[in-house]
């Protein structure tokens, strides 16, 4: 096994997997292409540049408070998983014609988290953001997406599952700065225990950004009487040549569907789990990478199952 150290960066080259740990941040991947990484000790900033398309997903675990800058080069396509167990600021620059699928995970955090992401999308580039969170503590989540180049596209898919005394404040802002840009927000929330969620989904369309499309859809399920959810879609539009839609619903699991499943012998928690997972399924189906899809889906399914069994 070869180990290379560049400043605080150590590269451990063990076939077939390559592990990179950067100042408490671990990158693990099994890919022949290595992103270039630099670490600024003074600023506590990690720079990751991806100059060639990655054939397999890149995983980064952020275990120490850090700022991470990721640059996805022109025409490059990449799947990147970012797991945060501490406060972090992540900036992703998606260059022209690049295609980035970003997966932000915050698994069952039991400490308060402040997670901030800024995503800049250049001309004809496309970003798909999957924001998957299962929390039992306080979370502040801010995502700013800037569509900075013509025909840039951004899709935000959120799965939010809170339990216990978890409290989450999410603020998603997508700004259309250039013409013919498109955005989509598709969020599913499942709230148990005494969890409280507030989701602000904002779309800003600037004056020059004509012929844009923006869509927002928010659906939430409350699993207990003490859980609460607030959804606030906001549209700030400065020109008339755009098409925008939004919808929001907050409700309980369908009693008829629960009876239908129970009448087949499934216990109530099993029936609830099946219905919740079916509500989330179209978000997971949007994940193109099968290995990522199945691992994220089972992570959320486990958390949901714990919540419904615990609720009995």
């Amino acid at each position: 096994m070869n180990q290379t150290t560049i400043g605080d960066i150590s590269l451990i080259d063990g076939a077939p997997e390559l592990n990179i740990s950067v100042a408490g941040m671990r990158l693990s991947r099994c890919d022949e292409i290595l992103p270039s990484i630099a670490y600024d000790e003074v600023l506590g900033r990690v720079n990751v540049a991806i100059k060639e398309s990655l054939t397999k997903p890149l995983t980064m675990s952020i275990a120490r408070e850090a700022e991470v800058d990721i640059v996805i080069g022109k025409g490059v396509s990449a799947h990147i998983l970012l797991q945060s167990s501490t406060a972090s600021v992540v900036q992703v620059d998606v260059h022209e014609q690049a295609q980035a699928d970003l997966y932000f995970l915050s698994a069952r955090n039991d400490v308060a988290l402040n997670l901030r992401s800024v995503i800049n999308v250049a001309k004809e580039a496309e970003v798909r953001i999957f924001d998957i969170g299962c929390a039992v503590d306080k979370t502040m989540r801010t995502i700013d997406v800037m569509l900075q180049g013509e025909m840039g596209k951004a899709a935000y898919f959120g799965v939010d599952h809170l339990n216990g005394d978890a409290n989450k404040d999410s603020r998603l802002t997508i700004t259309h700065q250039e013409p013919k840009t498109q955005s989509e927000q598709n969020v599913r929330g499942v709230y148990a225990g005494k969890a409280a969620s507030s989701f602000l989904g904002k779309v800003i369309v600037e004056r020059e950004a004509k012929f844009c499309k923006a869509a927002q859809l928010y659906k939430s399920i409350l699993l207990s009487e003490e859980a609460s959810a607030r959804a606030r879609p906001e549209l700030e539009i400065s020109n008339n040549d755009i098409s925008a839609s939004h919808g929001a619903s907050i409700g309980e699991l369908d009693a008829n569907a629960l009876f239908y499943l129970c009448s087949r012998g499934l216990t109530l928690p099993e029936a609830q789990s099946l219905l919740i997972n079916s509500l989330l399924s179209d978000i997971f189906l949007a994940i193109k990478e099968p290995s990522v899809r199945s691992s994220l889906q089972s992570m959320v399914a486990r958390a949901v199952r714990q919540s419904v069994v615990g609720a009995l």
Partner: protein, 263 residues
């Protein structure tokens, strides 16, 4: 002897959201028997079906409801299913996003777990479900779709029959399985139901029309009016009903009620 009855209902009173629907209903079904329950709209046929299956909010106010010699009144829907009660819904629920094969396997495993049997894995399950599809002359594409989502009326009813076949219940309650089916779909569904008849399995066929009974020959036909069974007989009773309608039974029920009030 009580034990020869699979289902034994005595003086059953049921209310839904404060409205009294079943008013002293009696019904006993022996092993292997097929009973048809016919009656006009609003007579409480579906309420009976839901009550036996254990739908929440269907409150038993009075009377007995026994299955295999034990009262099921305080049992949940899943406990009744685990004992072998199966309701084929009049309006099967659409669940977008839930894969039909996954749902069927989960249901089968829930029943197996309740019986202390080992769970079936995905490979063995596929083999098993295929044999049921073959028996019911159903297409495999049923498995890969979401539960009932976007199914035609006929497909939904056949999916109910597939579940019935796979889960092997002791008592099948078919709630208006014929409603919304054209003549071909009706015949296909009836063939599926007939394939599941056995000496160990009883069926209650709830229907508004006699036509389903052309395909599924019942042992006993009951006429239900205003929350109770007013007449029982052989299969000829269904033919008489088709010819004469429910009017005479409704009049009789009213008369009965009037005499009760008068006394």
């Amino acid at each position: 002897m009580t034990s020869e009855y699979l289902l034994n209902i005595k003086h059953l009173h049921v209310s839904v959201e404060g409205h009294s629907i079943l008013k002293g209903l009696n019904l006993s079904v022996k092993k292997g028997e097929v009973h048809a329950i016919m009656g006009p709209n609003g007579s409480g046929k579906s309420t009976l079906a839901y009550t036996v299956a254990g739908k929440p909010d269907y409150a038993v106010e009075n009377g007995n409801l026994e299955f295999l010699g034990q009262s099921v009144v305080d049992m949940s829907a899943e406990e009744r299913a685990q004992l072998g009660i199966f309701l084929a819904f009049q309006y099967p629920v659409e669940i977008p996003g839930l894969n039909n094969a996954y749902f069927l396997r989960s249901a089968l495993n829930a029943l197996r777990k309740a019986r202390g049997e080992e769970e079936i894995d995905a490979v063995d399950f596929l083999q098993l479900v295929r044999s049921h599809l073959l028996k019911l002359k159903m297409d495999e594409r049923f498995l890969n779709r979401a539960v009932n989502a976007g199914f035609s009326g006929g497909e939904k009813k056949r999916n109910e029959i597939l579940q019935m076949s796979l889960l092997e219940p002791r008592l099948c309650i078919l709630d208006e399985t014929d409603s919304g089916l054209d003549i071909d779909a009706l015949r296909i569904s009836a063939d599926g139901i007939n394939a599941l008849r056995s000496d160990e399995r009883s069926m209650i066929v709830v229907t508004h029309y006699q036509r389903l009974l052309n395909y599924i020959t019942p042992d006993v036909v009951h006429v239900m009016v205003d929350g109770s069974i007013v007449e029982s007989g052989g299969k000829d009773l269904a033919i008489k009903l088709e010819r004469d309608g429910y009017d005479s039974f409704i009049a009789k029920a009213k008369q009965g009620l009037a005499s009760v009030i008068a006394s």
